[in-house]
């Protein structure tokens, strides 16, 4: 399975030169039109946090096995790459896109990132891309792939208007690749060992070169696995740069034992912060680096804002932000009982715009049956509260008295006043009353200052 990610640049665009830390700046390396495309893409640019992105989980199948992946992916209490709570067909994806777009005009980027490999599911992938493009020609389309079939499909991707592409390439040395990929499925057979490794690398590099020649903005993701691929990062980076890759995102291995991956079960550890920094430095000699990778789910929706947190402006924004959680299982009306919510849509009030902007959708543990790995009922409840702890209000159709009290103790106001109203109408009403209250209190405080 492809390990797909969202991430932001540490080497930023020219609007924020002071935060360049890796010695390479996108603005120095790229033509202006490319910079502009990147600046509006939240998976590429830290500056694009106001733009929302949506991953369409239309590509379930995968054609390779990675030792950091487990195909038993559909457990709703897990949040890690390759995990998705439900698949949709391309028409279902279009419906979801329309629903989200209506409430989130800042949705500009639509990608396919699994939960398998986009190009192992060409029919669903291309069908979804076409439907979205026909619906909204301004949407930026992107896919994430392991690269095995990329050379075959590069032309088709370009023809469908895909201009952003992520390829996960972990090494260009077959003997290392053989320790990461136990097998691949190619040309109607399962290849193993070095034979698989050589074929995969050859296809990845050929695909990268083809895509770059077609003008696609290619980012390379690399999972850093200490003791396996960490010594050859510079070599990898130079090789992908030479074939036209634009940006390098080195991500830490996730190998918790409970995920049941090969690396998890065999005790392979992830890299330390220092190891990660050193790998990024090695790669930074050749290519701009990305950091703050969120390693998102294949059905992630929303902006990446608030997660970065190292800069003062972000911190102050977070303090003042008024976030509202809406219990909804996908419907446009507020008709979900708090206790039955499988997901919450999170909106943040933008005081300048005077309205709520869609931020993200958060899954909560609800119908998980895996006794060995999943929480019991009490833990389920805790997970629900935890999922919305940063919000100030939660909208739902009904709620029991016990969770009501718990929420109040957490400083979250349960609100059932808008039960069965459309979400956008309810949010507009709340935005109005909230902004009126803020203006009033500001007026009061300035009056106080005057009087004083």
């Amino acid at each position: 399975m492809e390990l797909h990610t969202d991430e932001r640049l540490s080497a930023t665009t020219s609007s924020c030169p002071s935060s360049q830390t890796d010695g390479a700046s996108v603005s120095h390396l790229l033509p202006k039109d490319v910079q502009q495309q990147i600046a509006r893409h939240p998976c590429y640019s830290k500056q694009a946090h106001q733009y929302a992105r949506m991953h369409l989980p239309v590509a379930p199948a995968c054609n390779i096995q990675c030792n950091y992946c487990n195909r038993k992916y559909d457990c709703s209490n897990e949040s890690r790459p390759g995990v998705v709570s439900h698949l949709v067909d391309p028409h279902g994806a279009l419906k979801q896109f329309r629903a989200i777009k209506k409430r989130a005009p800042n949705l500009t980027v639509v990608g396919i990132a699994g939960p398998g490999d986009a190009l192992a599911n060409p029919k669903a992938t291309f069908s979804a891309l076409k439907l979205i493009r026909d619906e909204d020609p301004s949407a930026q389309l992107c896919i994430s792939t392991n690269g095995l079939m990329l050379a075959d499909y590069a032309d088709a991707l370009a023809a469908h208007g895909v201009n952003h592409l992520t390829i996960t390439i972990n090494t260009i040395r077959p003997e290392i690749a053989a320790q990461i990929y136990p097998w691949i499925y190619y040309d109607h057979q399962r290849l193993r060992g070095l034979e698989a490794a050589e074929r995969l690398i050859r296809n990845q590099l050929a695909g990268l070169e083809a895509a770059a020649k077609l003008g696609m903005l290619v980012k390379v993701n690399t999972v850093l696995i200490p003791g396996i691929n960490d010594a050859d990062i510079a070599e990898l980076s130079a090789a992908v740069k030479a074939r036209g890759a634009l940006l390098h995102n080195i991500m830490p291995l996730i190998s918790a034992a409970e995920h049941g991956t090969y690396f998890g079960v065999t005790g392979q550890r992830g890299p330390t912060e220092a190891e990660l920094a050193s790998a990024r430095e090695a790669s930074g000699q050749f290519m701009p680096q990305m950091t703050h990778c969120q390693q998102c789910r294949a059905d992630a929706v929303g902006t990446l804002g608030g997660g970065c947190g190292t800069e003062a402006d972000n911190a102050s924004k977070a303090d003042n932000s008024f976030k509202v959680a809406v219990a909804t299982n996908g419907e446009p009306l507020i008709k979900t009982h708090f206790g039955h919510a499988q997901q919450f849509e999170i909106y943040r009030l933008d005081p300048q715009a005077g309205e709520f902007q869609f931020l993200e959708r958060r899954q909560v543990a609800q119908y998980c049956n895996g006794e060995s790995a999943c929480p019991d009922e009490e833990a389920d409840k805790q997970a629900m509260f935890k999922a919305i702890e940063d919000c100030r209000m939660v909208l739902c159709s009904r709620i029991g008295i016990a969770p009501w009290r718990t929420l109040e103790q957490m400083g979250i106001t349960p609100n059932v006043d808008h039960a069965f109203a459309p979400i956008d109408v309810a949010l507009a009403a709340i935005a109005n009353s909230q902004l009126a209250a803020t203006t009033h209190s500001q007026k009061e405080s300035s009056d106080e200052v005057c009087h004083y």
């Binding site: 096995q65 195909r71 398998g116 399962r190």
Partner: protein, 91 residues
């Protein structure tokens, strides 16, 4: 019947997409598991050197042959000899 899918299947769709005979379909009672149509399955004879479903399936013991023997036995894909899980479930 040449090949069949067991309850180890996690419903990843991989076999569905590569079956040359359209013999794979979602279990109507459990859409997260797939089944092989016994009459449609040809075992890929005359089409491919190896059965395509078994060649791409990432889950050990999920596909069995006509003698009910796993085509990808425990340890053959991951290299991990996994204990039999009592609580194994497909969420």
């Amino acid at each position: 019947m040449k090949y069949a899918i067991t309850d180890k299947c996690v419903g990843c769709h991989a076999c569905l997409l590569v079956c040359p005979s359209n013999a794979v379909f979602a279990d109507p009672d459990n859409p997260k598991q797939f089944m092989i149509h016994p009459r449609r399955c040809t075992g890929c004879e005359g089409q491919h050197a190896a059965p395509q479903c078994a060649s791409i399936c990432p889950v050990e013991e999920a596909i069995v042959n006509e003698y009910a023997i796993a085509v990808n036995p425990l340890g053959s894909l991951t290299g991990i000899e996994v204990r039999e899980h009592v609580n194994t479930s497909i969420d």
